[in-house]
């Protein structure tokens, strides 16, 4: 796979993953660009070109973690106690929601659950690929996917009854400049 093929076939999925991490378009574009710049610089070290996709996603995630090392610990709010009022999430409820509400719900999930969820939904990665990219045991991945889906659905349910303001802002967008 040459560089242009890597851009043409993978940049959309990579950008979506970056967006799910950063929570905004500017940072997502910057993360994507930095990842492809590293592919240009280091791509020659990739002996197996079939692994370019996994390498790109892993690299993007590591760049993001590098950014995060500079952050203040982000405020973390607990889920408010509206859970009992929430309707069950059904296909019909998902159909009723705007696209934006669905993407917002993903962003509201705490990061350690959101990252595997984004890889699962955006690029259709298998459990084994995701576990390898995130360097976590498969059992841990199962738990995180399960918990991530549960949190996302609570948020979807809350949005369906207009209660999203009451429920959570678990993980606000990244703030590169902040300090401890």
């Amino acid at each position: 796979m040459d560089y242009e093929q890597a851009v043409n076939s993978l940049y959309e999925g990579l950008y979506r993953f970056a967006w799910s991490l950063a929570g905004n378009a500017d940072d997502a574009a910057e993360l994507t660009q930095e990842t492809y710049a590293r592919l240009l610089v280091k791509g020659g070290q990739l002996r197996d070109h079939s692994k370019v996709k996994g390498w790109l996603f892993t690299t993007l995630y590591r760049i993001y973690l590098g950014w995060k090392r500079r952050e203040t610990a982000l405020p973390h709010y607990e889920i408010a106690s509206v859970e009992a009022e929430l309707p069950p999430v059904t296909p019909a409820l998902v159909d009723k929601l705007e696209n934006e509400a669905v993407s917002e719900s993903l962003l509201e999930v705490e990061e350690r659950y959101r990252v595997p969820l984004a890889l699962y939904y955006f690029e259709n990665h298998s459990y084994a690929e995701i576990a390898k990219m995130l360097d976590i045991p498969i059992g841990t991945l199962m738990s995180r996917l399960s918990r991530g889906k549960e949190l996302m659905r609570k948020s979807l349910a809350a949005k369906s009854i207009g209660a999203d303001r009451k429920i959570i802002s678990i993980n606000p967008p990244r703030q590169k400049e902040s300090h401890e």
């Binding site: 560089y3 242009e4 851009v7 043409n8 940049y11 959309e12 950008y15 979506r16 967006w19 378009a25 574009a29 910057e30 994507t32 660009q33 930095e34 492809y36 710049a37 240009l40 610089v41 280091k42 791509g43 020659g44 070290q45 002996r47 760049i63 590098g66 950014w67 090392r69 500079r70 952050e71 203040t72 999430v89 059904t90 296909p91 998902v94 159909d95 929601l97 696209n99 669905v102 993407s103 993903l106 699962y120 939904y121 955006f122 259709n124 298998s126 459990y127 084994a128 199962m142 738990s143 996917l145 399960s146 889906k149 996302m152 659905r153 590169k176 400049e177 902040s178 300090h179 401890e180």
Partner: protein, 245 residues
Amino acid sequence: MNNQEAKLILQAYRPNGQDASDPFFAEALEQVHRDPELKKWFEEETIINSRIQARLQTAIPFPPSLKSELLALQKTVQPVSWWFQPMKLAAVALILASLGAILLLIPQRPSLASFRDTMARSSLQTQEHVEFQSHDIASIQQWLRNKNMDTRFDLPATLQAGAGTAQGCRVVDWNGHQATMICFIVNGEHMDLFVMDSAGLPNFGGTPQFASADGLMTAMWTGSGKVYLLTAQNQGVLQKFLQHT
């Protein structure tokens, strides 16, 4: 396997059926066929996942210029040269290892790379990033003087013009020499400025030299017996900042 365990495993099952023949899911899928209640849950789960996936894949708009910007990177980023090829890399590594063994026997001079790496690590340090917190440069200078640090150095003109907000400072040790670190936020970007007596480092003039270290970009220059090093998230931020200096 009970239904609870099967549900946990099936949360990783992809809605498009790609995992149907994966042995990892075989036992859970057998349980689905045996238990009508689990089957109903699994069918609904697959539909919900499929709908969420479809929504997410269309929910995020792409910056229209992103693809062309990525393709244009080829013109500005230099690919690695031939020596990253595995066999040649091995040969180079052997030569370097031999040279390293020889160099170990020669007394070492302080190196710019070592200084840069130490300062970059300090810049990345999130715990106790600054020892003294203040937005006021005069207070920071006073605190540094109380620590017997020399504060007679030139701040970059952009900072002198009040473009950034100081966050605090601390003293960083490098090979027995002490460097001043002042932390700033400039246009929303975090930057750290390190200043130290040249301490035997080569004088390479006032033109900033850019290099990456530990995932950060750094610009380093010298003047009046001091070495200056500025860190930021990327080179664009540094260049923008320094072009006004």
